[in-house]
Amino acid sequence: MKLHYVVRELSLTVRAGKARLDRPVVGGYAADLLGCAMAGSHPGQVWLTLQGHLNVVAIAGLNDLSGVIVTEDKPVPAETLAKADAESIPILSTPRTTFEVAGLLWALGLRI
């Protein structure tokens, strides 16, 4: 499954990293503690979080995640978006909650 398919199916807003929507998504991970995300997420997963801090980009890059979905339309500072563009890490936004998004991703067939 490619990230652009997830974007279309969940009506996500692409905030940054448009060039890398062709990345395959192998699963999902959800956490708002960035320390947990750093320890628990794996390459190719899409990461669901409420955090928009700059460090989100660092961790997504570090763990080679396919993209980040910021839920509840939480604010993502311009510096985070600029960094994500520079690092080609897709940042996607949705008004839905993390719970809803996780359920929808599961329904699309994604597993851990």
Binding site: D32, L33, L34, G35, C36, A37, M38, Q51, H53, L54, N55, A58, I59, P75, P77
Partner: protein, 272 residues
């Protein structure tokens, strides 16, 4: 100002003390008892840092008048990222101006006293003045960087609190120290062994680490820091944290004043 204001002096400090305004603090955290305990520990400087409010700072400052203890007004702010940050000021007016800003960035919910505990505003004798009904134990919508820059714009300084705790901390919530974070020091938890922490997090070697008691009860008030500076101003503190102009800052020896059974309680609650 304390008696040591004129000369370069070595003092013991704890820059992270809660009062009964913090819902999680014990009722014993009233100004006269905090001052008495600080003096018993030989402290020359404490900072009053309640959650998202500075309302009780003036009362503790008044309670310390005529003693050798200097009290710095402050606050422990919770950022949008749920990171706790100590903000320290020279004057109560600055702290209250900061409180005004923080108040505008809180959600305005009522404090569920039965769940979280009461938030008491008291006078210098510890007598009840009023109950703060607004929920203080929650996140502001101020980002970490905004807290740092806005506290500084008011003449204060900001230090991320207990960065090695499993929650409400820089390392747990943000995973790593954000590049470009412009703070003079990082606070570690009162029971943390710094050598062990530095082994696990070698990146912290580049930082000035301070220890804070994060006292929610009198027994947690701590001789946490040794400071060498001239007077208890935030400018002097900045110089001490930077090790400039003969000023200095070092962690007090790690002691475990808690009884062994108390330590077990803490560990079993997962607080470490």
């Amino acid at each position: 100002m304390g008696a040591w204001a004129e000369d370069l002096a070595r003092i013991r400090a704890d820059l992270h003390v809660h009062t009964v305004l913090s819902p999680c603090a014990d009722v014993e955290m009233i100004p006269p008892l905090i001052v008495q305990r600080a003096l018993e520990l030989g402290l020359g400087l404490i900072a009053v840092t309640d959650h998202n409010s500075s309302e009780n700072c003036a009362a503790v400052i008044r309670a310390a008048r005529g003693t050798t203890l200097t009290v710095m007004p402050g606050m422990e702010v919770q950022t949008r990222e749920e990171v706790h940050v100590l903000c320290l000021f020279d004057e109560v007016e600055q702290a209250l101006a900061w409180q005004g800003i923080v108040c505008d960035h809180l959600p305005g919910q009522r404090n569920p006293e039965e769940l979280l505990g009461a938030q008491y505003v008291v006078d210098s004798e510890g007598s009840y003045l009023r109950t703060e009904c607004r929920l203080l134990s929650t996140s502001t919508d101020l980002a970490l960087d905004e807290v740092v820059s806005r506290a500084r714009a008011l003449g204060g300084l900001a230090i991320p609190a207990h960065i090695d705790r499993p929650s409400y901390s820089l390392l747990a919530n943000l995973g790593l120290i954000p590049p470009g974070l412009d703070v003079p020091a990082l606070e570690i938890f009162r029971l943390t062994d710094p050598s062990q922490l530095l082994e696990e997090q070698p990146g912290l070697r580049a930082w000035t680490l301070i220890r804070g008691g994060d006292a929610h009860r009198l027994s947690e008030l701590k001789w946490a820091l040794n400071l060498k500076m001239r007077g208890a101003t935030t400018n002097e503190l900045l110089m001490a944290l930077a090790g400039q102009a003969e000023r200095s800052c070092s962690l007090a020896p790690l002691t475990h004043p808690q009884k062994p059974d108390m330590m077990n309680v803490i560990v079993s609650q997962g607080s470490l």
